[in-house]
Symmetry: C2
Subunit: 165 residues, 2 copies
């Protein structure tokens, strides 16, 4: 939480950043929107220390943005899923993604969000640039883009926008 | 810059966050969208140390998101204005703002963005909820909202979303 610093601010942007503004948190959400659910995969894609990752996920669970659900009993293992409230952050990620594609990705978008069944692209306002529909995370398929250095095509579920390191 | 940590990420979200993901930077942009231009006022609204504020503004100028312009010669004084590239971040701020209004502002929105000449409100997709137009920063007027603890009505230019401390 950035509470100590932002708490004097009676502002919805500041309150949102108290939850998602920590280093790594928006990238965790990015990966969640791309289909990542497991601790180990978040850690591998992000290259972030396990203790930091655990803290960030705890904050997101505590804020009702993700939920922690057992997927295996022996040994006990959990996965992290976006809640409805968490899916409401999709326009934040879409706006960051598309600004970055336009301004700081000279080789082209590393990843493209494609409107499933339509083929249009995602705009900075989380809308389809072909049919005009508002898009949520459930409406898009993720493809490697021209800036990925990989053959273009669908990213397999859970592979996330991870770097080719 | 968060480069050291995010630089392994071939991702437009990560690249955008390398520029705007530092603590305070998105709140500086929020204030800029609300009409703040001067160093002293950014500092007063944010309550951030001058050396940090100066670093953040330098990063934004270096990234072409803001430009520094003299407004007084004796003594020399500068103001900070959003560039076209900077105004392209409006959907990020709109999405953070509206998510916060919906989920972490129990007394109602502290600040409302009103579509000038239409009266509609700003959606999380930076669109007018009345006429449906895509909105940019030049299209909205800022009003105190129900959660502000102030009489509702226009915020005077440059007053920013500042807290009643």
């Amino acid at each position: 939480m950035l509470g100590r610093d932002y708490s004097g601010q009676n502002c919805s942007v500041a309150r949102t950043l108290e939850i998602v503004g920590e280093r790594w948190t928006l990238l965790i959400l990015r990966d969640a929107f791309l289909g990542t659910t497991r601790f180990e995969r978040f850690g591998r894609t992000l290259g972030v220390a396990p203790n930091i990752l655990a803290k960030r996920l705890d904050t997101l669970v505590g804020a009702g943005i993700m939920e922690r659900r057992p997927y295996q009993a022996h040994p006990p293992r959990h996965e992290y899923l976006l809640t409805e409230r968490g899916r409401g952050l999709f326009p934040v990620i879409a706006a960051l993604l598309r600004w970055g594609d336009a301004h700081v990705s000279p080789d082209g978008a590393p990843v493209r969000a494609v409107h499933a069944g339509c083929g249009g692209g995602l705009t900075e306002r989380a809308r389809c640039d072909r049919c005009g529909r508002d898009l949520g995370p459930e409406d898009v398929e993720w493809h490697w883009g021209p800036g990925s250095g990989r053959p273009e095509g669908p990213i397999r579920a859970g592979a996330a926008a991870g770097p080719a390191r």
